[in-house]
C-alpha cells in the first residue's frame, strides 16, 4: 500500500495553530483567492520549511467575503488567469524562501464546479501548470473532470477523501449545513480514516483547518495514517510481522498489541513487532494499536536498574581485546562502565538483548557458532550484550560469567523485561 498523505488547508485564518504544520504531510496554502495575503503566505511557507511540510497552492474563486464557498459566473479563460495569478504569487514567495511548491488543490466551490465541468477543470489545470510547471500533483475528488484534466495534462493526481466529513450510505459527502456534515468526534474521524485509507480509492485525506478541534482531529488522523503506513508482512497464517518505528517505546508497544482482541502473543525484536493469533481468528488491523503511541511520549520508567555481578573470565576475552586493539582490562571496564536497556527478550527463555554496547568493543558474531555455551555466560555481538540463561548453542563472543543471576523462572518467566535498565558490576 502506498502511503496515504494528510493534507490540511492552511494560511487561511489568523491565529492558526502551528501544530497543524507538524501534522500535515501537505499544506494547501491559501494564495489570495478566498483568503491569504503575502504576510500569511510567508508565514505558512516558513512553517512548512520549519517542519518539513510539503507546500501546495490552494487557488479559489476570487471571493474573500464569501470565503470562496459560492460558485461564481467566471469564464474558463478568466478562471485560468486567476488560478495562474494566485499560484504565481505563492510561487514567487516560495522561491524567495527556497520552499518548493509541489501540490495544487482548488478551494471550496471551485473544487466542486471544476470537477463538474471539463472546460473549467482544464482552465484550472492550465492555470496551475502556467504558474507552477508540470511536476505538480493536483489534489481533487476521486473521479470527475478535474482528474481527467490533470491526467490529460500529464500531471500526477491524488484522489482525496475527507477524514472530518460525514458520508451518506452511498459514500457521497453530507452537504455542509446538514446534521453530521462535519465530524468533530475523534473516534469517528479515526474510523473514517481507516475506511478511506485502506479502501484503495483515495491517496490523500483532508482535515479542514477551520473544523472545531482541528488539531486534535488532525493528530488522530495523522497517527492513524502513520500506523497504516507501517510495513506489515505475514509470517505464515498465524503471525504478522510489523516494522517497528524507531523511537516507539517498546514495552508500551508490546502491551498495546497484546491487549488487542484475538492476539495470543506479541513479541518485540530489534526492528519489528510481531503478533501471533489463531489463523481462524485473525485480529483486525493491529497497526492501529501502535497509532496511539506514535505521537505520545512514553511513561517514565519507575523500575530501578538491575545490577548483575560478572566475573570477566570468558574464553573470547583475549580475542575481543586483540580485535579491538584494547587490553582485556580495558574491554571489561568499558563493558561494565555503562547502563544498558533491554531491547528485546527472545531466542531462549529469559534471554535479554541489552544495548547499546560501547562502540570501542563492538565485535561481530563468531564465524562458527559454539554448539554449547554454558549457562550464565556473558556474551557480546554487534551493539548487544546478554547473559545466556541456559546452556545452549550460541554465536556471541563470551567475555565473562554472571554470578548469582537467575534469568528465568517458571513462575514469573523472564526476569528482565523490555525497557528494564541493567548494569554490570565487575567482580575480581
Amino acid at each position: 500500500m502506498t502511503e496515504c498523505l494528510l493534507n490540511i488547508d492552511l494560511g487561511e485564518l489568523p491565529g492558526e495553530d502551528e501544530q497543524l504544520y507538524t501534522l500535515a504531510h501537505v499544506a494547501n496554502i491559501a494564495c489570495g483567492g478566498h483568503a491569504g495575503d503575502d504576510a500569511s503566505m510567508r508565514r505558512a511557507l516558513e512553517s512548512c520549511a520549519r517542519h518539513g511540510t510539503r507546500a501546495g497552492a490552494h487557488p479559489s474563486y476570487e471571493d474573500r467575503e464569501g470565503f470562496g464557498r459560492k460558485a461564481l459566473e467566471v469564464s474558463p479563460e478568466v478562471m485560468r488567469g486567476q488560478v495562474a495569478g494566485q499560484c504565481a504569487r505563492l510561487a514567487r514567495l516560495a522561491a524567495s524562501q527556497g520552499v518548493p511548491v509541489r501540490y495544487a488543490k482548488p478551494h471550496g466551490a471551485l473544487y466542486h464546479s471544476a470537477n463538474a465541468s471539463a472546460e473549467l477543470a482544464r482552465a484550472v489545470v492550465e492555470g496551475v501548470v502556467e504558474a507552477l510547471g508540470r511536476s505538480i500533483t493536483v489534489i481533487g475528488p476521486g473521479t470527475g473532470a478535474l482528474r481527467d484534466a490533470a491526467r490529460a495534462a500529464g500531471l500526477a493526481y491524488a484522489r482525496e477523501g475527507f477524514a472530518d466529513r460525514g458520508t451518506r450510505p452511498d459514500g457521497s459527502l453530507i452537504p455542509r449545513g446538514q446534521p453530521g456534515a462535519v465530524l468533530t468526534d475523534v473516534a469517528r474521524a479515526r474510523e473514517n480514516t481507516v475506511r478511506l485509507a485502506t479502501g484503495g480509492t483515495v491517496d490523500t485525506l483532508c482535515v479542514h483547518g477551520d473544523t472545531p478541534g482541528a488539531v486534535e482531529l488532525a493528530r488522530e488522523v495523522r497517527a492513524t495514517l502513520d500506523a497504516l503506513a507501517l510495513r506489515a508482512e505475514a509470517l505464515g497464517d498465524g503471525a504478522l510481522r510489523l516494522a517497528l518505528p524507531e523511537g516507539l517505546e517498546r514495552r508500551s508497544a508490546r502491551e498495546a498489541l497484546c491487549a488487542l482482541p484475538r492476539v495470543v502473543d506479541a513479541v518485540i525484536t530489534e526492528e519489528h513487532a510481531c503478533v501471533y493469533f489463531d489463523p481462524d481468528a485473525p485480529p483486525e488491523e493491529p497497526r492501529l494499536a501502535l497509532a496511539r503511541l506514535l505521537h505520545v511520549p512514553p511513561p517514565p520508567d519507575a523500575r530501578p536498574p538491575a545490577t548483575l555481578r560478572v566475573r570477566y573470565d570468558g574464553p573470547d576475552l583475549e580475542a575481543v581485546a586483540a580485535r579491538t586493539g584494547l587490553t582485556k582490562d580495558e574491554v571489561t571496564k568499558l563493558h561494565a562502565a555503562r547502563e544498558y536497556t533491554v531491547r528485546c527478550v527472545g531466542f531462549l527463555p529469559g534471554f535479554a538483548y541489552l544495548g547499546e554496547v560501547d562502540s570501542r568493543i563492538v565485535v561481530p558474531r563468531l564465524a562458527t557458532p559454539r554448539t554449547r555455551v554454558p549457562a550464565l555466560a556473558v556474551g557480546i555481538a554487534g551493539g548487544r550484550t546478554g547473559v545466556y540463561p541456559f546452556a545452549s548453542p550460541g554465536g556471541w563472543h563470551l567475555i565473562g560469567t554472571a554470578l548469582d543471576f537467575t534469568a528465568f523462572t517458571p513462575e514469573q518467566g523472564a526476569v528482565l523485561r523490555l525497557g528494564d535498565r541493567v548494569r554490570f558490576e565487575r567482580v575480581d
Binding site: G236, G238, E270, H272, C274, D280, V345, G350, G382
Partner: protein
C-alpha cells in the same frame, strides 16, 4: 484412588507433551506443543481426554506400567485396558516419525506457564524438565471423559505436498532459489529435533550474512542458514533468529510435515492466506470437533 504411569523402558527420546503454552513467546518461551498434533488428538480423544491433554511423545519403543488404578490407554488412537500393576509394551512408531501414548485422565504433571509439556532447553515442564527414563513415575488425572474416534484421513499423507505461504523475506533470495523451493524435492534430515527439522537437497543460496539483528520467528517458518540449508522451525524453536525466512509452513500442515521420518521426500507448494485459513478451518473441524 491416585493412578500412576511408570516408565519401565525407553527406546528413544520420550517427553511429556500437550497443546503447548501459547502466549509466552515474549518471555523467550517457544509455543511448544505436539510434534504431530493430529496424532496427539487421536490418542487423547480415544480415551475421552481433551485433544490437547498431556501425553507421552516418543520416537521409539516404550515399556510402561499402569499403577494405582485400572487405566484406559491409547496409542495413536488404538485403545486397550491396563490392569493395576500390568506392564505393557508400546512398539516403536511404524509409519510416522513419532507416536503418542495417552492415558484416560491425562498425565497430571504440574502446569507451568500455561502448559504441561517438556521444554528441554529450559529444563521446564513435563517430568523435571527432562527426557523420561526408566524409574520415572507420572501422576494421572481423573478420567471419565467420553471417548471419540477421530479419523486421520489424508492428514499425514507422506506424498502430499507441504503447503507454505511464501515470505516474508523472499526478496533476499534470487529467482532461481525461489523456483528451487517449489520445484525441487527435499528429504528429511536425521539431524532434526523439536527445535527444527533440517532438510537435505538443493542449497537455497542467499548470500545473506544474517543482518545480525534478531527477528521474530514462528513454528513452520523455513529459515535458511548461510550454507543454504533450510530448517523448518519446530514447536521448541528459538523465539527470535537472524536467518532469512523464505516461506512458512501453514498451521494445517505442521503435522503432515513433522510426521515424516528421516529420508522421506518433501515437496512444497505455495498457497494464499485465504487458502491457508480455509485449510486450517477444515483441520479444526476434523481434529477438534468437540473441544
Amino acid at each position: 484412588m491416585a493412578g500412576w504411569l511408570d516408565i519401565m523402558g525407553v527406546g528413544a527420546p520420550t517427553t511429556v507433551q500437550d497443546a503447548g503454552r501459547p502466549g509466552q513467546m515474549h518471555h523467550g518461551v517457544p509455543p511448544g506443543g505436539a510434534w504431530v498434533p493430529e496424532l496427539l488428538a487421536l490418542a487423547n480423544r480415544a480415551v475421552g481426554n481433551p485433544w490437547g491433554a498431556a501425553a507421552l511423545e516418543t520416537f521409539g519403543k516404550l515399556e510402561l506400567r499402569g499403577r494405582g488404578r485400572r487405566t484406559r490407554v491409547s496409542v495413536d488412537g488404538r485403545t486397550f485396558s491396563v490392569a493395576d500393576g500390568e506392564v505393557f509394551t508400546v512398539p516403536a512408531p511404524e509409519s510416522a516419525s513419532v507416536r503418542y501414548v495417552a492415558v484416560d485422565g491425562g498425565l497430571a504433571v504440574p502446569e507451568m506457564l500455561g502448559g504441561r509439556g517438556t521444554l528441554l532447553v529450559a529444563r521446564l515442564g513435563g517430568h523435571q524438565g527432562r527426557l523420561l527414563r526408566p524409574g520415572d513415575a507420572l501422576p494421572l488425572g481423573e478420567g471419565g471423559g467420553t471417548p471419540e474416534t477421530l479419523e486421520l484421513g489424508d492428514a499425514l499423507d507422506v506424498t502430499a505436498p507441504i503447503r507454505v505461504m511464501l515470505g516474508p523475506d523472499l526478496e533476499r533470495f534470487g529467482a532461481a532459489t525461489r523456483a528451487s523451493l517449489l520445484a525441487d524435492t527435499f528429504t528429511v534430515s536425521p539431524a532434526s529435533d523439536r527445535v527444527g527439522m533440517r532438510l537435505r537437497g538443493t542449497a537455497l543460496a542467499h548470500g545473506d550474512e544474517g543482518a545480525g539483528t534478531s527477528r521474530p520467528m514462528v513454528r513452520g517458518a523455513i529459515q535458511v542458514t548461510l550454507s543454504g540449508e533450510p530448517i523448518v522451525l519446530g514447536p521448541d524453536h528459538p523465539t527470535t533468529g537472524g536467518y532469512p525466512l523464505i516461506a512458512t509452513v501453514i498451521h494445517a500442515d505442521w503435522g503432515r510435515l513433522c510426521a515424516r521420518r528421516p529420508g522421506t521426500p518433501v515437496r512444497f507448494v505455495a498457497v494464499s492466506m485465504r487458502g491457508a485459513r480455509e485449510a486450517w478451518r477444515q483441520h479444526l473441524e476434523r481434529f477438534r470437533p468437540t473441544v
